[in-house]
């Protein structure tokens, strides 16, 4: 499974019995394993920016030059991580969901090396930590903008795979749009790929032909934006990276994965001896999910509203999933004022009421 997905388990944010490593280190070698090429302009690109920020932050104290790109999941990733551990890496960041079993297997063999697994949920050994970002919080912001900006009341969503991360995004965006525009509807197209520019362009085209004038994408290339640029009045949002080259329109804002703060914090902890096993799931508040510049193509009041939503989520006063909410089949999900716990969020496999279509299964 190409990269990410979700983390999970009820224990996600609970402090874990800490195997703490009181002794600090003079020099840390941090290594990265990527599922795509660093030139993908999206998921892997953002992780690599995080690596570069890490190198810049600590200078000589951290060697963050070691990375390997386009590593397939499964046996290959296990070998690469083993070789990294053998070559003297102190901490290895594995940046794809599908590395999960491999991370835990290798971690068992190298108890002195720290493993950080993005978007996974298994921490079988004391030296494995997991981290993820609450992308759905960003979706609530872009969903708000979509609801306010659509003239046809049709919003399109290009999904990658029908997995919880995508479904959270679709639900969060839809609920946010519905809140500001009760007439808004959402069409979902599943591309069954994280990254296939031609197919993503076709998907965007198909949505536009259906009358959609705001496109949200969960796939990583800029192709949907390029497609939107061909039709006046259609707007979209940057995904994973800022996609600034399509400013000011059709790219009117973006959801940026910013891993730099996490990488700097974790390696810093290793340097000064405060490193502990953890399971981090941060969002807008933690700086991992950033809303890129909202351009002037957006009406001022929409911009203000979007910033309000963003700030409220950051302050913790607004949760994108707040009851009363029903599931698509009409059954009750959340009672008035209730919010889901992280385990429920992480395994989300249903649409909320009002979205048409079925989740492929």
């Amino acid at each position: 499974m190409k990269r990410r997905l979700l983390l999970a388990t009820a224990a996600a944010l609970m402090a874990l019995p800490a195997a703490s490593f009181a002794q600090g280190m003079d020099k840390v070698k941090a290594c990265f394993i990527y599922v795509g090429p660093v030139g993908d302009g999206g998921w892997t690109y953002q992780h690599d920016l995080g690596r570069q920020a890490l190198a810049a932050e600590y200078g000589d104290r951290v060697d963050a030059t070691t990375y390997q790109e386009s590593v397939p999941e499964g046996a290959d990733s296990e070998r690469v991580m083993t070789q990294m551990a053998l070559s003297g890496c102190n901490i290895i960041f594995a940046t794809s969901f599908g590395y999960m079993d491999a991370v835990n297997n290798v971690a068992a063999k190298f108890p002195n090396v720290k493993f950080e697994h993005a978007t996974g949920y298994r921490r079988d050994h004391a030296n494995v930590s997991t981290y993820d970002a609450r992308f759905y919080e960003g979706r609530a912001v872009t969903g708000t903008m979509a609801g306010l900006m659509t003239k046809s009341d049709k919003i399109g969503y290009i999904g990658s795979f029908p997995i919880p991360e995508n479904i959270q995004g679709i639900n969060a965006a839809y609920l946010a749009a519905k809140k500001v525009n009760p007439d808004a509807t959402m069409s979902v197209v599943w591309a069954y790929t994280w990254f296939d520019p031609a197919k993503e362009a076709d998907a965007a085209r198909a949505l536009i032909e259906q009358g959609v004038d705001v496109i949200l994408q969960h796939t990583d290339s800029t192709a949907p934006l390029a497609e939107a640029a061909k039709t006046p009045g259609v707007v979209g949002f940057g995904q994973a990276s800022d996609m600034a080259e399509f400013k000011p329109s059709p790219r009117v804002a973006s959801i940026i994965d910013n891993w730099a703060p996490y990488y700097i914090e974790r390696v810093g902890a290793l340097l000064d001896g405060t490193y502990e096993q953890g399971a981090t799931w941060a969002g807008i508040a933690g700086g991992e999910v950033e809303i890129g510049e909202i351009t002037d193509a957006v009406p001022a009041e929409v911009k203000t509203k979007a910033q309000e939503v963003r700030d409220a989520i950051a302050a913790g006063t607004l949760h994108p999933f707040t009851g009363p909410l029903k599931k698509q089949d009409g059954s009750d999900w959340l009672a008035e004022g209730e919010t889901p716990d992280d385990a429920e969020l992480a395994g989300m496999n249903f649409y909320v009421e009002g979205i048409t279509g079925e989740i492929p299964n």
Binding site: K2, L5, G74, R79, Y121
Partner: protein, 360 residues
């Protein structure tokens, strides 16, 4: 003026010398490429070809990994080589590999969580059958409707990949996986696991099967009537027909064998190194095996060596990437060069080069 003269029989000396020559040429050309990227060419070449085998830090781990990586390549390539010799083009081994893994895993998972020694053999049979049946589609369309088998087998790869996504997200999804795609981990369930047979060697059942396939193919081609029919059809199709070889039967047989072996490779991979059916399970072994088959000159021993060489460049390439920062793309281009040179110098095996004046 250079002239080529076909040798009556391929030169034995050159068929041994050409691969060495090709590797040397690749080192030179690759060195230039790495130097252009600002990397130390000598260090890069040494890391790719030497370190996986002899580096004190890695070699103990990397050497067995060569077998893990080469196993499926050899197993699939052996099957393909039989067809290629007879002019039967199965380009879709990747699809057969995927379907074999799917049917094998499905057969095992249907019995989960039973513990029995019979489950793994059952899965092996199911995997081979799955690959075989998937290969029968182009074979039967070819024999009944004369539909081009290159194309159908290739198109079926895409269908198999869609099937894989569907299975990883649907029928075979781990019910205890919290809604995430991917099956249960087969390598962690004793009944279905395909573990390392002797610790630290990399040998699992798939590697054993690959070695058996090499020996089997060698004997088949040298001693058996079917091997003779295959070679004859490849060299002289008309003569083969007069000799009573049925082209249809040969198409079915070649596809059947290569499909079953590809299916087996998929099954051994999913129960061992890969561990589970996941969206990313198809990693191109079926395509790379085509190259391996040709690099090995469609000869079982050659394929064995070619598979190991290919595995070496993969593993050495990984080391070069993270130790020296050579981009993954450069390694891919380097592998492409290696193939070019191997194919290019092959001419010395089959032809004699004569330098002659125009008049003579």
């Amino acid at each position: 003026m250079m002239r080529l003269e076909k040798r009556a029989t391929p030169s034995r000396a050159w068929s041994v010398a050409t691969p060495v020559l090709a590797v040397l040429l690749t080192m030179i050309a690759g060195g230039i490429l790495f130097a252009m990227l600002g990397k130390d060419p000598v260090a890069a070449i040494r890391t790719i070809f030497w370190d996986p085998l002899f580096n004190p830090q890695f070699a103990a781990y990397s050497r067995p990994q060569l077998l893990v990586k080469a196993g499926p390549l050899i197993l699939i390539a052996i099957g393909l080589s039989l067809g290629f010799r007879a002019g039967v083009w199965n380009i879709g081994a990747e699809g057969q590999y995927v379907v074999g893994a799917l049917t094998g895993a499905a057969a095992g998972l249907a019995l989960y969580p039973m513990e029995s020694r019979l489950i793994f053999p059952l899965m092996v049979i199911a995997g081979a059958l799955g690959g075989l049946l998937w290969a029968m589609i182009p074979a039967i369309l070819r024999t009944v409707f004369r539909t081009n088998e290159i194309l159908v087998s290739l198109l079926l790869v895409y269908v198999a990949q869609a099937l894989l996504s569907s299975m990883a997200l649907g029928a075979l999804r781990n019910p205890q996986g919290g809604g995430f795609p991917g099956s249960r981990n087969l390598s962690q369930w004793a009944s279905s696991a395909n573990p390392e047979l002797i610790a630290g060697t990399g040998m699992h059942w798939g590697v054993v099967a690959a070695f058996i396939a090499v020996i089997f193919a060698y004997i088949l081609l040298q001693r058996h009537m079917l091997g003779f029919s295959i070679r004859l059809t490849g060299q002289a199709p008309r003569a083969a027909r007069f000799a009573g070889v049925s082209p249809r039967r040969l198409v079915i047989l070649c596809f059947g064998i290569s499909g079953a072996l590809a299916g087996l490779a998929g099954l051994f991979e999913v129960t061992g190194p890969a561990g589970q059916i996941s969206l990313d399970f198809a990693q191109g072994y079926g395509f790379t095996a085509i190259i391996v088959a040709f690099l090995g000159r469609l000869n079982p021993i050659g394929i064995l060596l070619a598979g190991l060489l290919m595995a070496l460049t993969y593993i050495g390439g990984e080391l070069a990437q993270f130790m020296l920062g050579v981009p993954a793309a450069a390694i891919q281009a380097f592998q492409g060069m290696l193939l070019f040179f191997l194919l290019a110098v092959d001419i010395l095996t089959n032809y004699r080069i004569r330098w002659a004046r125009e008049a003579s």
